[in-house]
């Protein structure tokens, strides 16, 4: 008998159907990968198993855990079951822990809640569990607070909380999406080790096919609240049937069609010479000189006209600081940033004439727009960089052109940003960058928050725009596969320094620096299904 089997689960919230006829099962000691894009219902399925559902939810079907139907249990029984028989790990490690309680207390609470141990005993087990998840006592005493830990370390604490009582089933909902590749690889290895040691079943929910491919025994592909395909991972990769599965797989390894820059010859557009950016640290002693943190350490590179340059590195490596410095948003302590031979910043002020040739698209398509303005106003924001901005019919024409160049209808100009999906918003963000005809666009994790199929479309759009308008890109990302797909050359950054640079394919095929090798090894790979 399967450890958990979901049969014909239907779920609606306030009468709106979310899940239809969902069935899946997981065995003890096995991993079930649940894959889908946003809105596919994968997280809602997990929440239904935990019975942590919003008000107004209607559930029918069966969710059997070792033969017991969880939908028949009342809230009190579910409380006794959660944490004890089913543990859950969530996506956002930064916010998943209570900031005002120590990590020891939070792990011990799992045991105390279920009256599984006395207080000293619970603390002892909590200590052991933290050791098990790779947080040893000498460096991570139980008196630590969450804010003193990194994202990966916090995720380990969350995992410790979930497995402290050795549950039969562990549900991990996008457990590594918010983490760097090397951390992601560690957390996935940890999960795999834990389920083997404790003979747990694991439901691994993710949007990333590559993550599941290394881990899962069985796979379920979901779309719009329906399971479209499922089966053993080994055969499913070879033998995909449903068009959506195929589309998803293709989108994940999508390489846009583009002209490569080396045909165009070298004509430096942006030159970065020996740039150093220091942050002052808070004083540790009242009269001692404050220390500083060197976020960008002697970085030099050139972007040639028409080229697409990738910049990869993990969080904290200085890539975002460098972006802000390039845009003149932050002063640099030494070094030069030259655009077409002219400094971007003169006498501490950004030169508008140069700045307007550089535009930026940020990661978050939800947070980077003012929700109270219409799209027409949002995408004309860069006009303040022009000495005289177009008005009247000229302005309307420019708006329509910008929108149409990103495959959006001109009528979008009169709408507000909440009326658009994430992918559409990112198109609008690109239109905003395009409207004043820049030469260089800095894409700061611009496709990282998008679903794979949407990401593939946006990548196609970017390569098309680059060919049409002769745009130059600086493509900043932690996602190696995306960088590999769309850049000509790549820089690898670590701790503020560029540790490796070269033509993209060379670097990926034959990495020289140890760190680059680590990054490439850590990145999950899709199996070849040629």
């Amino acid at each position: 008998m399967a450890l958990l089997s979901i049969e014909n689960l239907n779920l609606s919230i306030h009468g709106i159907d979310i899940l239809r006829d969902v069935s899946m099962s997981v065995e003890a000691g096995k991993v079930l990968g649940v894959i889908g894009e946003s809105g596919s219902g994968k997280s809602m399925t997990a929440n239904a198993v935990m019975q942590l559902l919003p008000n107004g939810t209607d559930c029918s079907g069966t969710i059997l855990l070792e033969g017991q139907n969880l939908l028949d249990l009342h809230e009190g029984q579910m409380n006794r079951l959660r944490g004890k028989d089913i543990g859950m790990v969530f996506q956002e490690p930064m916010t998943a822990l209570n900031p005002v309680k120590t990590i020891g207390a939070q792990v011990a609470e799992t045991l105390l809640i279920h009256k599984a141990a006395s207080k000293p005993e619970a603390l002892r087990i909590a200590r052991e569990t933290l050791n098990r998840v790779g947080l040893p006592e000498d460096r991570f005493p139980m008196s630590r607070y969450p804010h003193e830990l990194s994202g990966g370390q916090r995720q380990r604490v969350v995992i410790a909380m979930a497995i402290a009582l050795k549950p039969k089933l562990l549900i991990a909902d996008e457990p590594t999406t918010a983490l760097d590749v090397t951390t992601q690889a560690q957390i996935l290895r940890l999960l795999k080790r834990l389920i083997q040691e404790d003979d747990m079943g694991l439901i691994l929910i993710t949007h990333d096919l590559a993550v599941v491919s290394d881990m899962a025994d069985d796979m379920v592909i979901m779309q719009n609240g329906v399971v479209v395909e499922q089966g053993p991972a080994a055969t499913l990769y070879r033998d995909m049937q449903h068009p959506y599965t195929k589309a998803l797989f293709e989108a994940s390894s999508h390489i846009p069609d583009r002209d490569y820059a080396d045909e165009r010859g070298a004509d430096p557009l942006l030159e970065v010479r020996n740039v150093i950016r220091d942050y002052t640290l808070p004083r540790t002693k009242l009269f001692a000189a404050p220390g500083y943190f060197r976020a960008v350490n002697d970085v030099s590179f050139v972007i040639n006209r028409g080229e697409s340059l990738g910049l990869v590195g993990e969080s904290g490596c200085g890539k975002s600081t460098l972006t802000r410095a390039l845009l003149g948003l932050e002063p640099v302590q030494s070094g030069d940033i030259l655009f077409d031979g002219d400094p971007v910043v003169k006498n501490g002020l950004v030169v508008p004439d140069i700045r307007r040739k550089m535009q930026v698209v940020f990661q978050d398509p939800y947070g980077s727009f003012n929700p109270r303005h219409k799209v027409s106003r949002l995408i004309t924001e860069p006009y303040h960089l022009l000495p005289s901005s177009p008005t009247g019919a000229d302005r309307d024409r420019a708006i329509a052109e910008a929108l149409e160049s990103v495959d959006m209808p001109a009528s979008a100009a009169e709408k507000y940003i909440h009326e658009f999906s994430g992918g559409q918003r990112q198109r609008i963000a690109i239109a905003r960058a395009l409207i004043i005809r820049p030469e260089l666009i800095i894409l700061d994790e611009a496709v990282s928050a998008l679903d794979v199929s949407v990401r593939a479309q946006v990548l196609d759009l970017l390569s098309d725009l680059s060919d049409r308008f002769g745009l130059t890109y600086l493509f900043i990302s932690h996602d190696l596969s995306v960088v590999r797909a769309i850049t000509d050359r790549v820089l690898v950054m670590k701790s503020g320094k560029v540790v490796e640079r070269g033509a993209t394919e060379d670097v990926f095929e034959n990495p020289q620096h140890a760190y680059t090798k680590t990054l490439i090894d850590a990145a999950p790979q899709l199996p070849d299904v040629a």
């Binding site: 935990m50 942590l52 809230e75 009190g76 409380n79 006794r80 079951l81 959660r82 944490g83 004890k84 543990g87 859950m88 969530f90 956002e92 916010t95 998943a96 822990l97 209570n98 900031p99 005002v100 309680k101 609470e109 799992t110 809640i113 279920h114 607070y145 804010h147 969350v158 909380m161 979930a162």
Partner: protein, 315 residues
């Protein structure tokens, strides 16, 4: 924690210094001579001169500021012109009315607001939530002096449970004193409790939608336990801020309530001093109230750090 406390203490001292300068300068720039101003336009020349001498107005400004400041530090607030007695005695009598009144009102307001806010938040959208929030809306809207008069009408005039005003003094016994402060404290507390309950509810609702509450639920905590053990302490920061502000208000801003109930408190003292142009009393009482407010905020800051480890800095 020690570093944080020292920093807050330093900022307390600086606030007090700045406040003392502002108060002194404001009293100084009141047009005309303080002595003339205090005695009125019909005063004799020699009376004014005598008062100037008595007030020490002939010394330089810096010297007078220093005398005032150093005097206060050793508890000498000068002598009231109108009452003909040392200001510290005047304050000493009245603070034992104002301080207990503020404390009782604060306790009452917190004791009412916390459960109401918590119940409303945990039953969001329910009939209980809506009726409680409706009631607090009313509580916020009603002016406290009007509410005070209604209380007098019901409990003093009709039911005769309490006196309609006045204060017998603590010499008459603790019970008699508390009894006299009951109606004023309720009148002060209820509108504040309404505000506090609303803040508590909003803050708690925000916290309840945080990820870590969901994590707690996934561990097996019931809704109520997750609220009590995880959400509540995190929701306290904005609530503490409001409590700090309310205590200051109740101590310094009880003027109207003290007048309604004829209570010999600081509020009435400052009210009377202003109408009698007794600038020395005004200056000193205002400084004292500033001191109280700054001190309360200092304690609120320390409580923040107790509640939230992120503010304590690195050990």
């Amino acid at each position: 924690m020690l570093r944080y406390s020292l920093k807050r203490f330093l900022s307390l001292l600086i606030s007090l210094l700045v406040a003392s300068i502002v108060i002194f300068v404001v009293i100084e720039i009141v047009p005309g001579d303080p002595a003339t101003y205090m005695l009125g336009i019909n005063a004799q020349e020699d009376t004014i001169a005598a008062l100037r001498e008595e007030l020490g107005l002939n010394a330089s400004k810096l010297e007078r500021y220093w005398n005032w400041l150093s005097g206060m530090m050793v508890g000498d607030f000068g002598t009231s012109y109108t009452y003909r007695s040392p200001v510290n005695e005047l304050i000493g009598d009245r603070i034992w009315v104002s301080l207990p009144l503020a404390l009782i009102a604060l306790t009452l307001s917190t004791a009412i607001a916390f459960p109401i806010g918590i119940i409303a938040a945990s039953r969001r959208g329910s009939v209980t939530d809506m009726s409680v929030m409706g009631a607090t809306q009313l509580g916020v809207a009603i002016p406290n002096f009007w509410f005070a008069m209604i209380l007098v009408l019901i409990f003093a005039i009709n039911l005769r449970w309490f006196a309609s005003g006045g204060f017998p003094g603590w010499d008459e016994g603790v019970f008699a004193g508390l009894k006299a402060l009951t109606l004023p404290a309720i009148a002060l507390a209820l509108p504040q409790a309404s505000i506090l309950a609303r803040v508590m509810r909003t803050s708690l609702l925000d916290t309840l939608s945080e990820d870590f509450v969901r994590t707690a639920r996934a561990k097996g905590l019931s809704k109520a336990k997750a609220l009590r053990r995880h959400a509540l302490r995190n929701a306290l920061i904005p609530v503490l801020t409001i409590i700090g502000l309310q205590f200051s208000f109740m101590l310094a801003g009880a003027i109207i309530i003290e007048n309604v109930f004829y209570l010999p408190g600081l509020g009435r003292l400052i009210f009377q001093s202003i109408s009698q142009r007794d600038l020395i009393v005004v200056e000193s009482v205002v400084m004292l109230l500033v001191f109280a407010v700054v001190l309360v905020n200092f304690f609120v800051d320390l409580t923040y750090a107790l509640v939230d480890p992120r503010l304590r800095g690195r050990q």
